[in-house]
């Protein structure tokens, strides 16, 4: 009990800080397109968070403020065909904008380490080159109900182990709804997947929150803009090298030169051969023009 109160105090402090700061520059704050959050930073005190929170896998909502509120939602995992079980908690701030839209910011993730049983299951997955699956509820606010839809993602278990277990989440959000979660290794997963056990049975998690970006608009032209750009186009074309400019002349020239050289080389030989043949030819043709001269 004491612990939770302490946490609350901390939270309040943090919150008040956050509110004040957010109020200061709220007007011109842009929608955050892509946030790379909760990388290794959250990792060292993972154990602490686990021991302190270790909550049931439900979401709690603290509504200390109208503007922002803190929410939690849990990550669940499954080994091959098994059922889903809790695997970690996402903590985030729910930000309510002036126009009523809500977005998640400041996402933090605390991952539960594998228990012995889970380790064994995971090793089985590694041996069988099977899928490790995770899921999140599709709406972070809705209360847990049986008919709720989950977004599921999976990866071949052999993609995860490096020194530790490296994982990478991309959570696609639309307001408070999670459209999809893409789960996998942070880098490549080369194709002939080798069986490799991780050196450390702990997770290195990276999380990216993604919102949809706006499509480029069709370009709009008006007369004067076209004129301006045309005017601005007066800059001379970049100077090209001599070779780039005149290669089409140089190559034939080179060929001609080479041809001339080979001919020049052959000339003396031919003359020798020619002279050897000349008598025969002369016999056939009769007197040569030189001889014919009167």
């Amino acid at each position: 009990m004491k612990q939770t109160i302490k946490i609350r105090c901390e939270l309040l402090l943090l919150l008040s800080l956050f509110i004040s700061s957010s109020l200061a520059f709220q007007s011109d704050e842009l929608l955050i397109e892509e946030e790379d959050l909760g990388s290794e930073g959250g990792f060292p005190d993972l154990a602490h968070i686990r021991s302190s929170s270790s909550p049931p896998p439900t979401r709690k909502r603290y509504s200390e403020s109208d503007q922002d509120s803190k929410i939690q939602f849990s990550l669940e995992h499954a080994f091959g065909d098994s059922d889903f079980s809790p695997a970690g908690i996402f903590n985030a701030r729910l930000k309510t904008w002036n126009h009523g839209a809500q977005t998640l910011t400041k996402l933090r993730f605390s991952r539960n380490d594998f228990s012995e049983v889970e380790k064994e299951k995971f090793q089985n997955l590694l041996k069988g080159d099977d899928f490790y699956r995770i899921r999140l509820a599709s709406n972070v606010l809705s209360s847990p109900s049986p008919g709720r839809e989950y977004v599921i993602s999976s990866v071949k278990a052999r993609c995860l182990p490096r020194e530790s277990l490296d994982e990478h989440f991309v959570i696609h959000m639309e307001g408070v709804n999670i459209l999809a979660v893409n789960y996998g290794a942070p880098g490549a997963c080369p194709h002939p997947r080798q069986l490799k056990l991780p050196a450390k049975w702990s997770f290195k998690s990276h999380t990216v929150l993604k919102n949809s970006e706006q499509a480029p608009r069709a370009p709009v032209f008006s007369e004067d803009i076209l004129g301006e750009t045309a005017e601005g186009e007066v800059v001379p074309p970049p100077e090209r090298s001599f070779w780039a400019k005149y290669w089409m002349y140089l190559i034939p020239l080179g060929l001609i030169v080479m041809n001339a050289i080979t001919q020049a080389m052959n000339m003396p030989e031919e003359q020798g051969g020619g002279q050897a043949q000349q008598p025969g030819a002369a016999v056939q043709r009769g007197p040569t023009p030189a001889v014919r001269r009167r």
Partner: protein
């Protein structure tokens, strides 16, 4: 400013170079293309054979086409295609010169000029309540010397002037709770009877003055047993209906405003009357027909309302309406099937035993049963009455029967194509007879001399006509063998009627057709529908002695959980090789990229329970399949729930029966679109058989980028639910369109992009590494087309030549989709003037030729648009290097160049789809557009750079060569002589 003009001129010059890649000269029309016009399955037919003029029949069809056909030859005089939501409910002819159509559930009445099909007038009839729509044209009813058309629709009765379509009077029945069934106008009477049911057990008659629409009398009577279905009017004051138990016939007499019912039990006529009982809607005057299972019972109604059986006929196919052909004489046609022939009997309504006509006609066994029959009379040369019948068959074809023979037939099934695939023709067997060549030698020479004349501009006008005729009739293109260029193929078309057609690409003739027995109505399969057709077996190794075959997939019933039917058809002979009635349903069909030793392609059929079934069911297939077992992934789209799921095979099905060809699936990933903000409106993937020549794309400055080419990409477009209706129902603020590129193996969203203020309908095409899609921008009030191109960054650092030389590149390493993708996406939007019905892209054999988009426009034409216009790298001022690469300066809208209409002057009415088929010649592709009409052409998106054109004069070349050789000899001899003379000098 001068610079601007220069830039403009330069770009114009550039455009003029690029744009003529597809356009043809006037005399080339019909050389490489063919066009066929159809009308669809006929619903109503009205004959117009009176007096002088052309004999014609006006028909309306299920494709919403109104057409006037030549009764002698079956050609179309004129044809009008109404909109998709404008179904025709009734057709008639008034004043001998107007065709009247009632459409859109009785709310639009139009008059068309009979000779040429011009619309004369159109009137919109207002009404509030959806109801049955009835069109009735009384013969002798006039109001102010104006013939009146009575129309009931949307709960109102209108009397409309036939001259100008003005509503003369209107009587609203929507306040009353009556469900109007019939409008009866007795001859020589100014009264109109509107009869109908209130609830199911009360019968009402309204007597209305035909002159002004005033209600004269309203009577009603209760019938406690209740009615079932509709009423049929037997005579001007007598109606017949069924009671709610469907075992009693009720005759309703409403003479003089008094309603009386008379019940007759069906068992009085037939012993066994369990089963389906129906009153046929044919108007036979005094007689009506009841169908009890397969037995057709004709029952006469006497003036007192007593029913007496006239005849019982088993397995009759169709009955026409009665036709009055002389004073008081009425006849109707009855069609039966007797030993594979159609037996047409014309009965006289009053004198049953006297058949006016009894003819047996052979119509061909591939047409199925007769569905409808319409009759018309004429006066024979011997002054007796003759009859002709227009029949609509099970395969939707239309035939005219007269004097015991088929006068003409139209294959109207081709107006409702469901799916298209292609088959190669047989390989030409060696040994062409010499005699044939010799016989044609003279012709050949003559042709070439003509062509030579044409090229040298010496040809007279007759010669030019002869050349043109020769080119059009060239027998080369309609041969039944494979050609070197791969232009000759068979198009295999599956139609809605369950008939399979093979059309020759050369001239569009039907090579064979097959009414699939497995897609015909039967006891086990009540409502069979054809779904799709796939290439099942394409022999390459045994191309000489094995025939290719196709797989036709259908299902028994309109819902996807109905059991599936498979049928295998030989594409050379058109015979069904085998058919399977399956126990499971079919939700998805996945042709796998594996073939067995007989070159049968493996197909995976996924049912609604997410079980995958492998076909063919052979042990060899299962062996091949097990090898690739872990590499088979698929996805399913649940558009209603807004969920896309990815699946992988798991293990054999666990069922009562062990089935080693059935596999369980496991869900790998899912994407859930929030139902309040996004609704899936379009999903597109790449074509499975598309060939990509190279992954690398050389861009300006000798740089290279790598296309992200994956067969497992899915394009999804979602729109806000509010904005998924028609354009104009949502404001720009509440509409948005989000597009996704999804990897279907891992479920990764590779790209996601929102178009705010835009809405569907979205038409998209996916090819290589790009998607082009078309949608409506509400803010700009215009249609837009956007392009997304996706490039692979993981291979981008392979540009170093030394890396390639020393083998330090990753170009040959296998790609795993489980790696984190490194892609960059480029996109750009452009305005496009047209709204679009469908988009396709050209495909060539090796994928080298540049691509063109084929856009099916709202005007039912096909427009070819170079893909380069939809390049996201277009900029306002491309650099010199970019210009050399072929990048077009940026414009805000895409050009529509009239010459680039592939369909030139023709229209493909109700265009539904465009299919492109690569020819063997790399530069060329065949484009087939289908709707109500069919159109096929040959296109060369980058011109035919790899072959000479067809009208290239080989003779001229030959003659030139011969002349040159002769000249060489002559000059040689001359020079010899000169030299000799010189020597003697």
């Amino acid at each position: 400013m001068a610079m601007a003009i220069r830039v403009f001129l330069l770009s114009l010059l550039f455009l003029s170079f690029t744009d003529h890649s597809f356009s043809l000269y006037e005399d080339q029309a019909g050389l490489m293309d063919w066009h066929q016009q159809y009308i669809g399955k006929v619903k109503h037919a009205v004959f117009h054979t009176q007096k002088t003029g052309k004999k014609r029949v006006v028909v309306s069809t299920e494709e919403n086409v109104l057409a006037s056909l030549d009764l002698r030859h079956g050609q179309i005089f004129w044809r009008r295609v109404l909109g998709a939501n404008d179904a025709i409910d009734g057709v008639d002819i008034v004043l001998g010169k107007y065709v009247i159509t009632l459409s859109s559930e009785g709310s639009i009445l139009r008059a068309w000029s009979l000779p040429d099909g011009q619309m004369v007038w159109e009137s919109f009839l207002q009404g509030s309540k959806p109801s049955k729509s009835l069109l009735s044209i009384p013969i002798n009813l006039t109001v102010d010397k104006d013939n009146v058309i009575l129309v009931f629709g949307k709960g109102c009765l209108h009397a409309v002037s036939s001259i100008d379509g003005v509503v003369l009077w209107k009587k609203d029945f929507s306040a009353e709770s009556i469900e109007v069934q019939q409008i009866i106008q007795p001859l020589g009477n100014d009264k109109i009877y509107v009869v109908g049911f209130v609830g199911s057990s009360q019968f009402d008659v309204y007597q209305i003055n035909a002159k002004n629409g005033e209600l004269i009398k309203h009577t009603s009577a209760a019938f406690p047993d209740g009615f079932f279905g509709e009423v049929l009017s037997v005579s001007s004051d007598m109606l017949v209906s069924l009671d709610s138990t469907k075992s009693i016939l009720v005759t309703i007499n409403f003479q003089n405003g008094e309603i009386s019912f008379k019940k007759t039990h069906i068992s009085e006529f037939v012993e066994d009357h369990s089963g389906i009982v129906d009153i046929l809607p044919s108007k036979l005057s005094g007689v009506f027909a009841v169908k009890i299972n397969t037995l057709l019972v004709f029952i006469r109604v006497t003036a007192e309302g007593v029913l007496e059986v006239v005849d019982k006929i088993n397995n009759a196919a169709a009955v026409s309406d009665a036709l009055s052909f002389s004073e008081g004489q009425q006849a109707f046609a009855l069609v039966e099937h007797v030993d594979g022939k159609v037996l047409l009997t014309l009965k006289c309504s009053h004198d049953w035993n006297n058949d006016l006509l009894k003819e047996s006609v052979e119509v061909g066994h591939q047409r199925g049963l007769v569905h409808k029959v319409f009759i018309n009379n004429y006066i024979r040369t011997d002054r007796s009455y003759g009859f002709r019948a227009l029949i609509v068959m099970e395969d939707y074809s239309l035939l005219l029967l007269q004097q015991g023979a088929t006068v003409w037939s139209r294959e109207e099934g081709l107006a409702s194509i469901v799916d298209v695939t292609v088959s190669e023709l047989p390989v030409e067997k060696a040994g062409v007879s010499v005699a044939k060549v010799e016989q044609n030698l003279f012709e050949w020479l003559k042709g070439h001399i003509l062509k030579l004349k044409g090229t040298l501009m010496l040809a007279s006008s007759e010669d030019i006509a002869a050349i043109q005729g020769m080119r059009l009739k060239s027998s080369e293109k309609s041969k039944m063998t494979r050609d070197h260029n791969g232009f000759r193929k068979l198009l295999i078309l599956l139609t809605r009627a369950g008939k399979l057609y093979a059309l020759h690409t050369g001239d569009g003739r039907v090579v064979w057709s097959l009414l699939l027995p497995s897609l015909r109505k039967s006891g086990s399969c009540e409502h069979p529908t054809g779904l799709s057709v796939y290439q099942w077996q394409v022999p390459h190794h045994h191309a000489m002695d094995e025939n290719p075959s196709v797989l036709v997939v259908g299902q028994c019933g309109p819902n996807s959980d109905a059991s599936a039917v498979l049928s295998f058809v030989d594409t050379y002979t058109g015979k069904e090789l085998n058919s399977l009635g399956l126990v499971h349903s079919v939700a998805q069909i996945i042709p796998l990229p594996f073939t067995d030793s007989t070159e049968q392609r493996l197909h995976l059929l996924v049912d609604t329970n997410k079980h995958a079934h492998l076909y063919p069911r052979t042990s060899e297939a299962i062996d091949i399949f097990q090898r690739e077992f872990s590499n088979i992934y698929w996805y399913s789209v649940e558009a209603d729930n807004g969920i896309i799921r990815g699946h992988v095979l798991n293990r054999n099905c666990i069922d009562e029966v062990v089935d080693e060809f059935c596999f369980d699936s496991r869900e790998l990933w899912s994407i859930v679109f929030p139902s309040e903000s996004e609704k899936i409106i379009a999903t597109v993937t790449r074509k499975l058989n598309e060939v990509v020549h190279t992954q690398a794309k050389v861009v300006a400055d000798q740089d290279v980028t790598y296309k992200y080419i994956s067969k497992n990409l899915l394009f999804v477009a979602t729109a806000t639910p509010k904005a998924s209706g028609e354009i104009g129902t949502a404001t720009p603020e509440e509409a948005s369109l989000v597009v996704y590129l999804i990897n279907t193996v891992t479920g990764r969203i590779l790209h996601r992009m929102a178009h705010y203020g835009s809405q569907g309908p979205v038409h998209a095409v996916f090819s290589e590494n790009w998607v082009v899609y078309h949608y409506f921008n509400l803010r700009a009030h215009r249609y837009e087309m956007s392009v997304i191109e996706i490039y692979d960054q993981s291979r981008a650092d392979n540009k170093d030549v030394w890396k390639l030389v020393f083998g330090k590149h990753n170009l040959t390493s296998p790609i795993s989709l489980f790696s984190r993708p490194e892609v960059i996406v480029k996109s750009q939007s452009y305005y496009f003037t047209h709204s679009v019905k469908t988009i396709a892209v050209t495909s060539t054999a090796k994928g080298i030729t540049s691509k063109q988009l084929l856009i099916g426009t709202i005007g039912d034409q096909v427009l070819a648009l170079d893909k380069r216009y939809l390049d996201p790298r277009r900029s306002v001022n491309p650099t010199q290097a970019e210009r050399e690469e072929g990048i077009i300066p940026l414009t805000d809208s895409l050009p529509i160049i009239p010459q680039s209409y592939v369909t030139h002057a023709l229209k493909v009415e109700n265009l539904r789809g465009i299919v492109t088929v690569p020819a063997k010649l790399e530069s060329t592709t065949l484009a087939f557009a289908y709707g109500v009409d069919l159109f096929l052409t040959r296109m060369a998106p980058s011109r035919t750079y790899d072959s000479l054109t067809e009208d290239f004069s080989y003779a001229l070349l030959l003659i030139t060569i011969v002349a040159l050789i002769a000249a060489i000899f002559v000059t040689w001899v001359l020079s010899e002589r000169k030299e000799l003379q010189d020597k003697w000098r």
